[in-house]
């Protein structure tokens, strides 16, 4: 029996084990779950070790003399300080660095891409629809326009949802729910695809029922 056959059988048995949860929680599932969690935790540890510690920190600093990377190494070491009770507070500094740098980077990109470009897109789309295009196109863009404005009103927290404002916010809720429905449909597709991937593996590689 060669390695490929053993690995296929192992993968198939583990797949069936995880799938058995559909019937009910059982020992077989628990074993497969434990193997999965253990292996994945180990995998991540090894990945970070070789990729961050070895490839970047060791090779980068020691072999290539990119001393700027030492900054990251020091911050990383500071992160481990929380293992030592009394000086545990030092671990907060690299955390502050991560939060600050990410916030700085994301603030700009979110503002331009998720706010300004979307406003531009909404107005621009309506312009295009008025400028030409067929009736369906116009209706479609108007729906986007109404959805955007009523959605924004729903998420406006400085005013109580009462009267006309509340009514418009309610329309916003409807838009949100319809969006969620569409999104749910997409996820059903995704979940089916994942299951399909495993079933195909079982039928093709393991049972050889499909060519």
């Amino acid at each position: 029996m060669d390695g490929a056959v053993i690995s296929t059988w192992l993968a198939a048995l583990l797949t069936l084990g995880i799938m058995s949860f559909v019937y009910k929680d059982n020992l077989y599932y628990k074993i497969c779950e434990a193997i999965f969690i253990g292996i994945s935790a180990g995998y991540w540890f090894i990945t970070y070790f070789w990729d961050s510690l070895y490839r970047i920190a060791w090779i980068g600093v020691v072999h290539e003399g990119r001393y700027v990377l030492l900054g990251g190494v020091v911050l990383g070491a500071m992160m481990l300080m929380r293992l030592f009770g009394k000086i545990g507070w030092i671990a907060r500094w690299p955390l502050a660095f991560i939060v600050g740098a990410t916030a700085g980077l994301k603030m700009m990109v979110y503002f331009t891409t998720n706010a300004m470009a979307q406003i531009h897109g909404t107005v621009d789309d309506t312009m295009v629809a008025f400028g030409g295009g067929d009736l369906y196109d116009l209706i479609g863009r108007l729906v986007i326009l109404i959805g955007t404005v009523t959605g924004l009103i729903y998420f406006y927290f400085s005013k109580e949802h009462k009267g006309l404002f509340g009514g418009v916010a309610k329309v916003g809720t409807w838009f949100l729910m319809i969006t969620f429905g569409a999104s749910f449909g997409y996820t059903v597709m995704s979940r089916m695809s994942l299951l399909l991937g495993r079933i195909e593996f079982l039928l093709t590689d393991w049972l050889k029922l499909v060519k």
Partner: protein, 406 residues
């Protein structure tokens, strides 16, 4: 009646005009039969300059075509570059038909260049005189993003203003978030049933603001939990979240006067692997059967799996996330869901913290601006296209320019 007659007349006139235009022999304008030969044409004028608003390494070349494109046998324009420091020359690109500009992004800021453009006609290169020498450079300020700066300053200014107001004790109004009652109810029910509470602060690290909002709400929940002496179980996917969550719960227990009841094991690391983490959380749910499950933070594909399992064990579930793709599952499978920004609003509301309250109020200013701009933009566009109003066209163009991000 007279008006109708006038309209009919104009329609007939316009139709005849269109008919005449449509039957005109348009091809004769660019007929190759009458095209000049290459010797009749003047030289190509080339202009090269540093590309604006970039981080260097780019030179824009522009040229005009005295009529080469109309010659039969024309194959394209060749952009020719000379490094005037080293004296080396090379061809950069053959541009397609109709192109009069080329952005050369393979230059170094340390060299100077001059460019020529050659018309390729019947295998011959009809070279222009070289352009002036030019050097690429980076600009410190991207002029295209001026409006981003202005609007950013307005919103950030509003955030700072509201934070300072809150710090000074001004009462900032925030509408009550309906989901908050559900949180209290869920904790109450777990206490009554004597079963634990499961809390998952998403699967992202501490650099995600949703995780931070989740942990703020955890602080409030943990205080109630400490007072009622209920059990809380919190599996985490990121080690930093584990530390932060432990500190949050510890602080809550101390505030509630029960530091002795706190235990580090309330928060435990599982694995970084997404579905490994889900498998573990599912296992915990099925085995420990918590009475209440909270999913507050950033979630991905695991949201439905967890919420479904929670639903199947009959737990009361409260979720909150700003991940648009995951909200549907929480809405479908949980008893209450904090949708998008409501998560941050709930966090601000519960903590009463000036920074969170101020940020939320500042964001409201941003939303108000967005709504006004969209509505004004759409009205202006409608009027401009329906009645050809110049002033409305001006507004439309201004908005277009303001919100263009390059």
């Amino acid at each position: 009646m007279l008006a109708l007659l006038r309209i009919a007349k104009s329609i007939v006139f316009i139709s005849s005009l269109l008919f005449v235009i449509s039957i005109l022999p348009t091809h004769s304008v660019y007929s190759r039969d009458t095209s000049p030969s290459s010797s009749d044409l003047g030289p190509i004028t080339v202009r090269a300059f540093d590309t604006d608003n970039d981080a260097g390494g780019s030179i824009t070349v522009e040229w005009d075509d005295p009529g080469y494109e109309r010659l039969s046998g024309f194959a394209g324009f060749l952009v020719w570059r000379t490094n005037t420091l080293t004296g080396t020359s090379d061809s950069v690109e053959v541009t397609p038909f109709g192109t009069r500009t080329y952005d050369d992004r393979s230059v170094s800021d340390d060299s100077t260049y001059s460019y020529s453009v050659a018309a390729l006609v019947n295998g011959e290169r009809l070279m222009s005189t070289p352009s002036m020498q030019v050097r690429s450079s980076k600009q410190w300020f991207d002029g295209r993003l001026t409006w981003v700066l202005i609007l950013g300053l307005i919103i950030c200014g509003a955030v700072i203003y509201f934070i300072e107001s809150a710090k000074r004790g001004t009462k900032l109004f925030l509408r009550r978030i309906a989901g908050l009652e559900a949180i209290d109810e869920a904790v109450g029910r777990a206490t009554e049933m004597g079963r634990p509470i499961l809390f998952v602060a998403g699967i992202q690290d501490m650099d995600d603001v949703q995780t931070i909002a989740g942990l703020t709400i955890l602080g409030s929940i943990a205080r109630t939990v400490a007072e009622y002496d209920t059990k809380i179980n919190m599996p985490v996917r990121a080690s930093l979240v584990m530390t932060a969550a432990r500190e949050t719960i510890k602080h809550a227990y101390v505030t509630a006067g029960r530091p002795d009841a706190y235990n580090d094991d309330m928060v435990h690391y599982v694995t970084d692997e997404q579905f490994g983490f889900v498998a573990a959380v599912d296992g915990i749910m099925v085995r420990e059967r918590p009475a209440a499950c909270f999913f507050l933070g950033a979630f991905f594909a695991e949201s439905l799996i967890m919420a479904e399992t929670g639903n199947s064990i009959g737990a009361i579930q409260v979720a909150g996330t700003a991940m648009p793709a995951q909200l549907p599952f929480f809405v479908a499978a949980c008893d209450y869901t904090l949708i998008g920004e409501e998560l941050f609003a709930a966090s601000a509301y519960l903590s009463g913290e000036p920074r969170q309250l101020g940020s939320l109020k500042g964001a409201d200013v941003g939303k108000a601006i967005a709504m006004i701009v969209i509505l004004v933009g759409v009205i202006a566009t409608t009027i401009a296209s329906a009645w050809n109003s110049e002033s409305m066209l001006w507004i439309e163009n201004l908005l277009r320019q303001m919100f263009s991000t390059g």
